[in-house]
């Protein structure tokens, strides 16, 4: 605000306008007063003429009648000494002329003419001509204007000082501190309350207080808004994470059975093999294939086949160690089960247990039918020279052995 070159305090504008307004007022009042004075002056001149008529004119009449030129001249001078009178001329009926006052006004049209009658009646002995003194009117108006200008000057100066002081104290200082506060406001400071040093007031509220209150409300609103944004972001992030997790899970899982899919085997088995190699741990895998699954499909339909697959996966999962062992659909009705930290013997035992569990299960089908299934197993343990490919090939070969050997059995080898 202050660094802008166009900055101009309100006080300066207010003072300038006050002065302009005062000047206009002075001009208007002066014009009115001049008019009033002019009227008064004219009225006064009429009064002077009346006064002269009642005081000097009878004496002039006597002096003219008695032919006392000195006395006439004295009266003329006395009349001319009235400040309102500019020029006096007495014309005697016998032709003599007496003049007094400002001779330069002698040519002006005489505004007032008074007949001078003789003391004992008879025709007038002369004529009194009075010319008003414009200089007197000017001086009266001038004096008045000066007085008024001085009065107004003092008043306006006092007002301007008052405006400057009050605006500085009541407006400029608080507004500047508020502007500074607003300019320096950062999100971290939103909780800092606005504090303005102000003169003590009698518990009433003014515009500055309203503005300060507005700023406080703005601060509170911003604060609330920012807090709300944080919550929203956390929520959305959580949802996204869940979504990503689900997508991940879906990408690893076989849609039909809920076991891992073939891609997961490609992703996960090499790292299981590598860990077993690196730490010298045991790792066993077993291949599982449902016996005569094609026949089930052919005779009972694919939905039954799918249900058989899902049922079988559920049975196998029950027997596995949760979080350590895992199971994936290798393709068709063939499944891989990885058994980390498991020597071959334990793996064979697990396979036996799985074979027995599957063979013991009787599946109820629609139409009162029931179905019994069996599975064949190829079990092997990871050797030092194995990679995931060789491991799987061997396990698959063992499964093939078990199939050849009559199904529903376990073939194993190191």
């Amino acid at each position: 605000m202050t660094d802008s070159p166009l900055f101009r305090p309100i006080a300066a504008r207010l003072i300038r306008r006050t002065i302009v307004l005062s000047a206009l007022c002075v001009a208007v009042v002066l014009a009115l007063q001049t008019w009033v004075l002019w009227q008064q002056h004219r009225q006064r001149l009429v009064e002077v003429v009346e006064t002269v008529g009642s005081t000097h004119v009878p004496l002039l009449g006597v002096a003219l009648w008695d032919i006392e030129p000195q006395a006439v001249q004295l009266q003329v001078r006395a009349i001319a000494s009235w400040p309102e009178v500019g020029h006096v001329r007495v014309r005697a009926a016998t032709g003599q002329v007496f003049e007094g006052g400002d001779v330069s006004l002698a040519g002006a049209p005489h505004s007032h003419v008074v007949e001078i009658s003789a003391p004992r009646g008879g025709p007038p002995v002369g004529q009194l001509e009075l010319v008003a003194d414009p200089a007197h009117l000017r001086s009266v108006v001038g004096r008045n204007a000066l007085q008024m200008l001085m009065g107004y000057g003092v008043l306006v100066s006092a007002l301007c000082v008052l405006i400057a002081v009050m605006l500085r104290r009541e407006l400029q200082t608080p507004l500047e501190s508020m502007a500074r506060f607003a300019a320096e406001l950062t999100p971290e400071q939103l909780t800092t309350p606005l504090q303005i040093a102000r003169a003590r007031r009698s518990g009433r509220v003014d515009e500055i207080d309203v503005l300060a209150d507005g700023i406080s409300k703005l601060q509170a609103g911003l604060r609330g808004h920012i807090a709300n944004l944080d919550d929203l972001v956390a929520e959305r992030t959580e949802k996204l994470e869940l979504l990503v997790e689900e997508i991940h899970r879906l990408s690893m899982t076989d849609a039909l059975t809920g076991a891992y899919n073939r891609r997961t085997i490609d992703d996960r088995l090499p790292s299981e093999v590598e860990r077993a190699h690196r730490y010298g741990r045991e790792l066993s895998v077993l291949f599982l294939d449902l016996d005569h699954f094609k026949q089930i499909n052919d005779s009972h339909g694919h939905p039954v086949g799918d249900a058989v697959l899902r049922h079988m996966v559920g049975c196998v999962r029950e027997q596995l160690r949760s979080g350590v062992d895992w199971m994936a659909r290798y393709g068709g009705e063939e499944f891989l089960v990885a058994l980390p930290e498991t020597p071959l013997a334990s793996a064979v035992a697990t396979a036996e247990r799985l074979r027995e569990r599957i063979a013991a299960e009787v599946m109820a089908l629609d139409g009162g039918l029931s179905l019994r299934i069996t599975a064949s197993f190829g079990v092997t343990a990871c050797r030092n020279d194995d990679d995931s490919g060789t491991l799987l090939t061997r396990a698959d070969a063992l499964l093939y052995e078990a199939k050849l050997a009559g199904r529903n059995r376990v073939a194993s080898s190191t």
Partner: protein, 358 residues
Amino acid sequence: MLGVWLALVAGPLWAQRVAFINPGKKDEAYWAAAAQSMQAAARSLGQPLEVFYAEREHLRALAFARELVARAPHERPDYVVFSNDYGTGAELLRIFEGSGIRCFLAFSKPPPDGPAGAGRPREHFKHWVGSLEPKAEDAGYLTARALIEKGRAARAQAPDGKLHLLAIAGDRSTTASVLRNEGMRRAVREAGDVVLVQEVYADWSREKATEQATWLWQRHPQVRLVWAGNDLMAFGAIAAWEQRGGTPGKTAWFSGINTSDEAMAALKSGRLAALAGGHFITGAWALVMIHDHHHGHDFANEGLAMERSMFTLFNERTADVFLARFGPRAEPVDYRRYSKVLNPQVRRYEFGFAQLLR
């Protein structure tokens, strides 16, 4: 030396020293004539006379009085003659009180009788022996009457059949002026066929009278008679008339008061229709009275404050006589003839001026 001479010559019984405080100026016709006639009378009566001119400054008159009082007693005059011009009479009487100098008021009316004035002679102020004034009203009356007669003779009446008369008076306050005006008005009243058109006051001034007469003729063109309170104002009016193209004595007539050479010449030439004067002789008559008083012949039986006719109306003949008697080559008048002491057959003072012109 002078004191010794005065003591020898002016012995207490047969001669008395007199001082005259002249209110006027040395070159003023009237007051010069007054002083000259007094000198003549003093010589004639054997009185040493000192004359002081106040030059129309009344404070100077008072200064002269204090000067006389401050003198050593044997150097003080026995009598002092002064006038009440400018109202100085009462103050002068107070100054001379207790100095042993006797006071005589001449020429003008004495201060009024009353608490503010000076009382009457020999009452409050014991040293105030008396006063003598010319009967000023006479001057106005005589000149106005003569003027009116001239007008009638010349048939100067206006269309209304009346003689129109203007009066140019001296001033409003001096007693002599007021009385002259009254005399003029009495003559107008008595005449019956005369209209006093207007009275103005020209302050005894020739110039002001000229100006006023100019105005007056514009205001009252039918006027043919102009009465003036003295000779100078008459001359002023004449000048105005001549400026209008008139001829004084032929188309308009003027009257004046005084005995100046110019006035006498104007009377003889006809420019002035009427002229009265002679009151300057008052001082000389006062010396005669003082002479008699000093020699034990008091005038108290004729009155202490006397107002007497002194004015005379001049004509061509008396003007010549006047010039002979009182002019530059005047033969001295013998004032001893009028003294009661020196002329036991005189029972009453005759102060008329005409007798001096016989």
